[in-house]
């Protein structure tokens, strides 16, 4: 029988439907996350979901993993505290493009640098959904938003490039349409010892669409389907051909020492340097 795994994981006492708009990609990403965790055979006891603030950051509330819905931009340091305090936990972070890369950009690059064993899914809808459609750090130049009435002036971050440059062990990108690929990337990210970044490109059919006329969720998913190219394919395309494309695949897959493992080594050094106290 074909199982919809997520129904084994929804929080018993939480009421549904969830808050997200019709056709919003956030539910798809949560679904992929749950499948990835399920396929890894993790117990619910050992997983903690962490998020900041934003539409996407509502995700952790819905599933029956312990969870922390934090403050805007700070999901990663909350998660760092949890992970370092109890390295046995599988700590997973949901963070919007604004949450992870606007106010939270510093924590993002430092988590990459520290390479702590946390997996963050950056749910990139190219906009601030929760607050009404302002330009986010991944909004394309020229796109419209509540604070970009003349077209966005800024250039978007390449989230994966930034994460790799900052030192994350695992970096990958998939669109919400590529569900199975997304699930696989998340799975690989969680399995990887070290910091893992998965950029999930999602539709915001309410606000991104309101300002940019991109249609309903269905339309936006179709667009994502059509724009996605693999890294391999991308390598064969000219910059002009790449213009509107979303390059998906794995961008970094390293094995730098993980932070908590490093800490364990440090503790040994400390033990050795412990001196006996002198009597008065």
């Amino acid at each position: 029988m074909m199982e919809n795994i997520i129904h084994d994981y929804l929080r018993p006492k939480k009421s549904f439907p969830h808050v997200w708009c019709p056709g919003c990609g956030d539910g798809i990403v949560l679904n992929a996350m749950v499948r990835a965790i399920h396929s890894l055979g993790k117990s619910k006891d050992e997983v903690v979901f962490v998020s900041g603030i934003g539409c996407s950051s509502r995700a952790p509330a819905y599933t029956d993993f312990s969870s922390l819905h934090g403050i805007h931009g700070r999901a990663l340091p909350f998660a760092t505290g949890i992970k370092l305090a109890n390295p046995k936990l599988t700590v997973v972070v949901f963070s919007g493009d604004g949450d992870a890369l606007a106010i939270g950009g510093n924590h993002f690059i430092h988590a990459c640098r520290r390479n702590i064993d946390i997996t963050v899914v950056v749910i990139n809808n190219n906009i601030y959904g929760m607050t009404g459609g302002q330009a986010s750090p991944t909004m394309p130049t020229g796109a419209y938003g509540a604070t970009a009435p003349y077209g966005n002036l800024d250039r978007p971050f390449d989230v994966c490039k930034l994460a790799a440059a900052a030192g994350a062990n695992y970096v990958a990108r998939a669109t919400a349409f590529q569900f199975f690929q997304l699930e696989k990337c998340i799975k690989e990210g969680i399995e990887k010892k070290g910091f893992s970044v998965i950029e999930a490109v999602t539709p915001c059919p309410s606000l991104y669409s309101f300002f940019n006329n991109t249609g309903r969720g269905v339309d936006m998913l179709k667009k994502l389907r059509d724009r996605a190219v693999t890294t391999q394919k991308a390598a064969t395309l000219s910059p002009a051909e790449l213009e509107d494309k979303i390059v998906t695949g794995v961008f970094a897959n390293e094995n730098f020492r993980e932070y908590c493992a490093g800490y364990a080594e440090l503790v040994e050094k400390a033990e050795r340097s412990k001196k006996n106290e002198e009597s008065l």
């Binding site: 903690v48 340091p77 305090a85 109890n86």
Partner: protein, 388 residues
């Protein structure tokens, strides 16, 4: 690299001639602190250094974060994962931590935040003393929120109040602020730490219900909800949104009031346990010096000198600043006609003393804010001046 050494005395207690910054961490370790996240700032940096060296020896974790906001949120995370956690900073960093302190208050996350006050505003005088953050400690984050603030005046008291801070944090599931100052931070005195078996440690109340019946903020067992750390059979949610017992967001006005009332009530119904003051020769006093933190020592010095010269001075030390010791102040205000509030700022706690004393006494401020510590002479000359 530690700049102090502890010795064992004949009763097996650790003793040392240490700075208050060092005493605070040593006491915290004994109180069970196993997580410290920090970002260096003068004059609190020694706490990070000592923690970085000592915590690994105690099986605990030290982490230097990228900024103070990260440090404060990491502390929240670690506490939710079950460790007693703390951070330390000074004014500029304290300002940055405010948003996350509110989160800790809202989600009833036990933790200890040390603010070693230096002269502000802004970068101010980084190496000089002040008590300019005492109102901020109460009101620095947005929205009504409960908070406990303790303020020691000696190195020994720093250790004592550090124990208290951790115990209160755990007992009431709340952030507790330890408000120090630069003079104290870098002051050295002898401390004798309690032996392991002398410790009276409070641990957060654990759940007694089965996991399926667990609530993040269960009110069935009193105003302080039992706590289970992340990583066990208990799966639960927390959020900085106003929430119900399950930790789920609410908007229903009555529920909101219920939630807000409880997190305040758990503190306000226990003032006798939380609010501590010390009185010195207030029985026959005609002049009362009200103070907190290191200047209390100057007040005591002024009292000694003053009494020799016939000035019947008494001293009220606020060890707990917030919740404000209204009762103690009012009682003394009714008895003593002249109150001087001694603070190393331009006048902050004096407002509270004025409010609490309900017009019952004549209240004046003795304020010093030039970056230096206050001397008994300065207090006495104010007293004499106001005598006319």
């Amino acid at each position: 690299m530690l700049f102090y050494k502890l010795f064992k005395d004949k009763d097996g207690r650790k003793v040392g001639f240490v700075q208050a910054n060092e005493a605070c961490i040593e006491a915290a370790l004994l109180a069970g602190m196993r997580f410290f996240a920090g970002y260096p700032i003068t004059p609190s940096s020694e706490m990070a250094s000592v923690s970085s060296e000592k915590l690994p020896m105690y099986g605990g974790k030290f982490i230097q974060m990228e900024d103070e906001i990260a440090a404060m949120t990491a502390v929240c995370g670690a506490s939710m994962a079950g460790l007693k956690a703390m951070t330390a900073t000074s004014g500029p960093g304290f300002s940055l931590k405010q948003e996350a302190i509110g989160y800790a208050a809202m989600n009833e996350i036990p933790c200890v935040i040390v603010n070693v006050q230096r002269a502000g505003p802004s970068t101010g005088l980084p190496t000089q003393v002040s008590q300019g953050d005492v109102m901020q400690a109460r009101w620095g984050t947005h929205g009504d929120h409960p908070i406990i603030v303790l303020s020691p005046s000696t190195v020994v008291e720093t250790a004592d109040l550090t124990f208290d801070a951790f115990n209160l944090a755990e007992k009431y599931r709340t952030p507790v602020i330890l408000l120090m100052d630069e003079t104290l931070a870098h002051m050295r005195e002898k401390i004798t730490l309690p032996a392991e078996n002398e410790l009276k440690l409070v641990e957060r109340k654990r759940a007694t219900v089965p996991p399926s019946d667990y609530r993040s903020f269960d009110t069935r067992f009193g105003d302080v909800p039992p706590f289970e750390p992340y990583g066990g059979k208990y799966h639960f949610h927390i959020t900085g949104l106003t929430h119900d017992e399950m930790g789920f967001p609410i908007v229903e006005p009555d529920d909101v009031v219920k939630a807000m009332d409880r997190i305040h009530r758990k503190i306000n119904n226990n003032l006798d346990d939380i609010v501590k003051v010390k009185q010195f020769q207030t029985d026959d006093a005609e002049i009362l010096l009200v103070s907190f933190g290191t200047p209390v020592r100057t007040c005591l010095g002024a009292m000694e000198i003053g009494r020799k010269e016939g000035l019947k001075i008494g001293v009220l030390q606020l060890q707990t600043i917030w919740p404000f010791p209204d009762k103690a102040v009012l009682n003394l205000a009714k008895k003593i006609g002249k109150i001087f509030v001694v603070e190393l700022n331009m006048g902050q706690i004096i407002n509270e003393v004025q409010r609490a004393s309900q017009g019952k006494s004549n209240i004046k401020g003795i304020n010093k804010y030039d970056g230096l510590f206050i001397s008994p002479d300065e207090i006495l000359s104010h007293i004499l001046e106001s005598k006319g």
